[in-house]
């Protein structure tokens, strides 16, 4: 009897069978895998499983404790809901990518060492990139390309940090990091916060999520950022920097969401806002705030999934994604509207909905940690949340100026999926106990105190008042917002210019050195040698000697002219020379 089975294996190996099945069989199979995964999570008990030795270190695939189990639960549940939502999709590639993506998330969740974590992290990046590319339009392909590059950059930072960490501590175990401010610390942090979409490294999310497929974005909204939250909770609890980053994130997302016209991009900015709560909670680091982050992540996956599903349904049925082009859909899509609103109420932390029992834990955590400013700012962001997700978006999508669109309700499977998510949103809100029991630390928090309920309702309803009073100012405008992706979108032009012009010119120059210096120089030098040196000097020298002898010969030749007196003179001269030689040697 196996004592533990890694749910991620179900997805990763399960993906292999997908291309071979069709029709109803395939659909049944697609639903069975996540169901089995949920089952496997429910049967898990704490401990360390599936350790292997690889290049001399031990890899841990199954580090099971309360923290990983709670994320395991929500990931598998959401995977089931998402698959149901996507049942109608005929593109096998998307199903395979989704499975690999989910498998990657679960792999990260249960990883006990950095190496395993990294491998699954990269798997997630590539698999989710496919979901963006799968839309096959030029905008989607471009966005997908930027997405994968940003993730590769984050992955490389993470890899660098892991290696440095390993070199200094000789251990790959995944756990809280020493807050030593070392390069390894910051590199790993950077790698994690890229995936958590913390500004200024967040633009990939708002760039790519609205461009992905309708069903793909639902998955993406749920997994990448929450896996990042999970790893942050495990490795960086109490890091002060995160408190500030998180709070800024919460407000940043809200501000951009107010300005946004594209329905899904608005929700994407909203993800940034909500993850900001979670990141801040991690930074605060108390039991209460960490519980808050985790429970908020749990709830967020469900209600954000629901919101994306709802918006996606609208986009699918109307073909339009901009708020300026939508409106008046309440007449023909009432069920979608209601389900969406459940998500909206949940995210806004209305009492009786899931957000209420979770988000307030984070804010409470801030309050109890003597951080009044943080608590106030986070509460302000809550108001903003309700403002645009609970009020602005549905108002302009479903009510408002009638756009004349008469779309029908989406297919049944999508409605069922939304219904399941809605059910969980309400369920958690009304019965928070089961969730609280899953949380890593003991929970001493009671959300349903009188003051809490009235205060929350007050915030929310009076926000609504403000909304209706300032309605005119909120009308969506057909613009896009420039975000930090401006840096690499415009900046990349500069980079390409550099690579294309100066660098290439230099390289050509270097290559031509051979041409100029060697070939031309050598040829020049050798022709110099040939013409001048060789011909004049050496030849000249040789010729010179030859000339000398010729002249000598000419001179001597005179002596053999044939006249006797010349011969006599020569003989006399010769004998004098010989005698002299013998006399004086």
């Amino acid at each position: 009897m196996i004592d533990w089975f890694h749910p991620s294996m179900l997805f990763i190996f399960g993906a292999l069978l997908i291309p071979f099945l069709r029709g109803k069989v395939q659909q049944a199979y697609l639903m069975a895998i996540p169901a089995l995964a949920v089952l496997s999570v429910s049967l898990m008990s704490q401990g360390t499983y599936w350790t292997y030795s690889f290049i001399g270190n031990s890899l841990v695939f199954g580090a099971v404790d309360k923290l990983s189990v709670v994320f395991g639960w929500v990931f598998t549940i959401m995977s089931f809901i998402g698959i149901v939502y996507a049942l109608h999709v005929k593109d096998n590639g998307q199903h395979i990518a989704a499975f690999l993506y989910i498998g990657g998330s679960l792999g990260v969740t249960f990883a006990g060492d950095y190496f395993t974590l990294f491998v699954f992290w990269e798997l997630m990046a590539f698999a989710s990139a496919y979901l963006v590319f799968a839309k096959r339009e030029k905008q989607a392909i471009d966005a997908g390309y930027r997405y994968i590059l940003v993730h590769i950059f984050g992955g490389v930072c993470l890899l660098g940090g892991i290696i440095l960490h390993y070199v200094s501590t000789k251990s790959l175990a995944f756990g809280p990091l020493e807050k030593d401010g070392s390069l390894a610390f910051y590199l790993i942090l950077t790698g994690f916060i890229v995936n958590a979409a913390v500004p200024p490294l967040h633009a990939w999310l708002t760039d790519a999520y609205p461009e992905g497929t309708i069903t793909g974005s639902v998955f993406m909204a749920s997994f990448t950022t929450k896996t990042a939250v999970y790893v942050l909770v495990r490795a960086f609890p109490g890091t002060e920097l995160l408190v500030w980053l998180g709070t800024i994130m919460a407000l940043y997302g809200v501000v951009y969401a107010v300005l946004e016209n594209d329905a899904r991009r608005l929700l994407a900015y909203h993800i940034i806002s909500q993850v900001g709560y979670m990141v801040a909670g991690v930074g605060i680091g108390t039991d209460l705030s960490l519980n808050g982050s985790v429970s908020h992540a749990f709830a967020h996956i469900l209600y954000k999934g629901l919101l994306f599903m709802g918006a996606g349904a609208v986009i699918q049925m109307t073909g339009k994604r901009k708020l300026t082009e939508l409106g008046g859909l309440y007449k023909t899509m009432p069920i979608t509207l209601v389900l969406y609103m459940i998500g909206g109420f949940a995210i806004s932390a209305f009492p009786l909905f899931s957000g209420f029992v979770t988000k307030s834990m984070v804010v409470s955590g801030a309050t109890h940690d003597h951080r009044p400013l943080i608590a106030l700012l986070l509460t302000m962001a809550s108001a903003g949340t309700f403002l645009h997700t609970g009020l602005k978006l549905p108002y302009y999508m479903f009510f408002g100026k009638d756009s004349g669109l008469r779309a029908k309700e989406p297919p049944v499977n999508m409605l069922i999926a939304m219904g399941m998510a809605a059910f969980m949103c309400i369920g958690i809100g009304v019965f928070p106990e089961p969730l609280y029991r899953l949380l890593p630390f003991a929970v001493h928090f009671d959300p349903y105190t009188g003051e809490h309920v009235t205060s929350a309702l007050g915030i929310l309803l009076f926000t609504g008042l403000g909304f209706f009073m300032l309605l005119k100012k909120l009308d969506p405008e057909p613009t896009i917002s420039a975000d930090t992706d401006w840096v690499y979108r415009k900046g990349s032009r500069l980079f390409m210019w550099f690579v294309n012009k100066p660098l290439s010119i230099y390289e050509n120059y270097l290559g031509n050195i051979y041409n100029t210096w060697f070939t031309k120089f050598t040829l020049y030098f050798s022709s110099f040698l040939a013409k001048i040196f060789d011909v004049r000097l050496i030849d000249g020298f040789v010729n010179g000697i030859a000339n000398f002898f010729m002249n000598l010969a000419q001179t001597i030749r005179v002596s053999g002219s044939g006249l006797v007196r010349n011969y006599a003179f020569t003989m006399l001269l010769g004998s004098v020379v010989i005698l002299t030689y013998y006399l004086f040697s």
């Binding site: 809550s382 105190t449 009235t454 926000t463």
Partner: protein
């Protein structure tokens, strides 16, 4: 049944009735804040009844005004084909 409720809300003719219901609920919530126990209040503002209502309204207005301001004056909002050259 859902459709009926939704239609009711959406129908522009019912705007008057809806507004009345809205105001009633606002007042009710505001007043209810006076009746609850404030055991866990840590900060001074938590002790004020109606604080949530006030802060919610305030936040909403601030966010809308600030965002639109940054958007328009800060040069964040651009034409839709800004990146497409």
């Amino acid at each position: 049944m859902i459709k009926k409720i939704v239609d009711f809300i959406g129908n522009p003719d019912n705007a008057g009735k809806l507004k009345k219901m809205g105001y009633v609920s606002l007042v009710a919530v505001f007043l209810s804040d006076f009746f609850v126990h404030r055991d866990h209040a840590i900060y001074i503002w938590d002790k004020i009844p109606g604080w949530g209502a006030f802060y919610g309204f305030f936040s909403c207005v601030v966010i809308i005004l600030v965002s639109k301001f940054i958007g328009h004056q800060g040069g964040i909002m651009k034409r839709e084909d800004y990146y497409d050259d």
